[in-house]
Amino acid sequence: MIQVSFLIFVALLGTYLFSRAFQLELSLSHFRSRAGFGLSHTFLVDYTSNDSRWVAYFTGVVNTIRVCLVAIFLTTILGTIMGVARLSKNFLTSRIAWTYVEVLRNTPLLIQIIFWQIVFLQLPQISEAITFGDTTAISNRGILLPWISDNGGAQIWFIFLGMVAVGSLFISYFLNKREDESGKYLSLAGKKLNGNLVGIIFFMIAAIVTFFAFGRPVSMDIPEIIQNNKGTWMQSGGFDLSPEFAAILFALVIYTGTFITEIVRGSIQSLSRGQTEAAEAIGLSKYQAMTLVILPQALRSIIPPLTNQFLNLTKNSSLAVVIAYPDLFMVSRTIMNNSGHALPVFFLILLTYLFLSLCISLVMNLINRRVTRIGA
């Protein structure tokens, strides 16, 4: 009875909303027309303002994924280090971690993004760039890092390397399993060879051999800052970490890191003290106790809230709009403004973020399943 009346209510509301919605332009056909705006950051996609709106949109999606992936990777490391540091017996270290959390968790992310942008724009001008032995150059046009460049055939080499990596993972897995089951292991000159080590050595040898076999497909690309004949300073080569990208990256990493710190701390504290004492009793060093005993167990209660933080990070990356980093949200907003058809573009934004969230949840669920299975 309640359900029926509720259904009628929803149906009425739905009809009203749809009747309103159908008065608006609902198709995405205008996405095929020329975009007509430039984007300051393009990555993997060759985008010019003459391309269609779809291409612009995908450039934005790629930019979002790029900043999110790097940020998730870095913030996990930062959060774990800080979480362990907060529980350190060393007074100074634990105070630093405490201050970090208390100060930065309680200020809005938006302020932090703007702060980092101001900081990066206040770096010295390109003519007075800070350089580290010709490898890295820091100026207000961005941070130039050495990168690899393609000499032809790099793509094939990378695909080959991927296959080799899978192969070496397989070798390590096989060797480790054999050692677990039968106690046999490879040895060289009387020394035991760990399965992981064999895998890494195999990978390195294969990589070096193929590097020459493919005729040196990649080389180092060293950044350069030169003054051309008109006196303007130019930067070329290397990997350009632009101020906008660096600002959104730093802010996301540092802000999300505070939450991860608290998650890691809470999970470690929830383990019984007996675990630390037992690790001490069997003679593990502090580092070994942390990496072999404490963290693997804490990981079980870390991963579900960590997933949540990764999702928050992905959604928060939309704040890049404030410093004009052309992510998914900013590009969609520009398209919205230009075309005047807001509703379909909004649904596109919604679906894209849902899709990204689903991907993250899926990967994290796989990891979670693996983590909870060990020793359970």
Partner: protein
């Protein structure tokens, strides 16, 4: 009883143990020491070169935004009423420790020190008197039999606080709502969102945990959709699309942007609050439900009398954290071209060429205001958690 004596040996042992206990310890001490020295030196060099004029001549703008000067008085009664309710509540419920009172005092003094000006000395004085008087009087009432009445009165005052604030802002031909701004706007937006989102959140949480498939699906879809997109996207929806979906009644389709932001923030908050309350619902032991069934209570009564009071009690700290998150997120209304605190902080250094390069000062003041409110609230939330004995059962 012996008088506590400073034991130098103990201090020395502690120091050695802490800082130079092992190789790793020495390394950590050195590294942390270097970090601290670096931060302190950069803070000192910043402060020695900082000029705060950009903030001091824009105090009113930061706090109240574009609210006209002749309406500035409206902000004070709101502060006083809030101060009265807040301080009496601490007196009536809390047993604040000295450390916490000190924190509160500091939290009060910091904005006062930043935004102090001689013309408002009387107002600040009144605030202090109201605060301390209401705290002390509720402490006294606490020892009498009228405590129950006081608590009920305070609860209803808390609920009435937002309508009261609106009345004060609008009474007697107040300024248009799109002139509200600055810190006032941030606080108003966050409070309205949480208070309006709370009932809807409860409904959604109950709906999601029922066994009725239609209601359950609808609530789940609502919650997950709202949580799926970032807040800026929803605010953008309020900007572009919301007016086209509102009926052409009572001028509803011509709402001011501030009200639209409040609507969207309320819906946004409700989805997150629903998830928090659902967690609370799940924490109710099934014996409670069975007991309610044994008493032959209907579903509504069971929820209203047995389940929800317990569930909400458990999740109060989590809701305070949601409020903190939402409060920080109110800075996103820049997307609606509203001049909230952060937006003012970004604009003021650009007004005058002599403030060029003084953005960090303005930003720091803005950040400190957000920070003070968040820290006070998060202390409050952990205090409530301790008082309710959650997690220590």
């Amino acid at each position: 009883m012996t008088t506590p004596k400073i034991n130098f040996r103990e201090i020395k042992d502690w120091t050695v143990d802490n800082f130079f206990g092992s190789k790793l310890g020495i390394l950590l001490t050195l590294f942390s020491g270097l970090l601290i020295v670096y931060f302190i030196s950069s803070i000192v060099s910043f402060i020695s070169s900082a000029e705060w004029e950009v903030v001091s001549i824009n105090k009113r703008l930061l706090l109240l935004g574009r609210l006209p000067a002749e309406d500035t008085w409206r902000a004070w009664p709101i502060l006083w009423v809030f101060c009265f309710v807040f301080c009496s509540s601490i007196g009536a419920w809390g047993n604040p420790k000295k450390r916490e009172l000190l924190l509160l005092l500091l939290a009060f003094l910091m904005p006062t020190a930043i935004f102090f000006s001689m013309s408002y000395i009387v107002h600040i004085f009144i605030t202090i008197i109201i605060g301390s008087a209401s705290y002390i009087s509720s402490k006294i009432i606490r020892r009498t039999l009228y405590l129950g009445i006081l608590k009920k009165g305070l609860v209803s005052l808390w609920i009435l606080l937002i309508p009261l604030a609106f009345t004060i802002l609008l009474v007697g031909g107040g300024p248009q709502s799109n002139l509200w701004g600055g810190f006032l706007l941030n606080i108003l937006l966050a409070s309205v969102a949480v208070v309006a989102g709370f009932p809807l959140g409860i409904l959604m949480a109950v709906g999601r945990s029922t066994k009725l498939p239609v209601i359950k699906t609808a609530c789940t879809v609502y919650i997950e959709t709202v949580r799926g997109a970032p807040l800026v996207a929803w605010l953008l929806l309020a900007w572009f699309v919301l007016p086209k979906f509102l009926p052409n009644l009572f001028g509803l389709n011509d709402l001011s942007v501030v009200i639209r932001a409040m609507i969207v923030l309320s819906f946004f908050a409700s989805a997150y609050i629903a998830e928090v309350i659902r967690g609370g619902l799940q924490s109710i032991p099934s014996g409670q439900l069975e007991a309610a069934d044994a008493l032959n209570l209907g579903y509504v009564d069971k929820m209203r009398i047995i389940v929800l009071p317990q569930a909400i009690r458990v999740v109060i700290p989590a809701i305070v954290s949601q409020f903190i998150g939402l409060f920080k997120d109110t800075s996103l209304v820049f997307i609606l071209a509203l001049t909230d605190l952060l937006q003012v902080g970004r604009i003021i250094p650009e007004q005058d060429p002599k403030f060029f390069g003084r953005q960090i000062e303005a930003l720091l003041v803005v950040a400190s205001l957000f920070w003070v409110v968040s820290v006070v609230l998060s202390n409050l939330s952990s205090r409530i958690e301790k008082n309710l004995g959650i997690g220590t059962r």
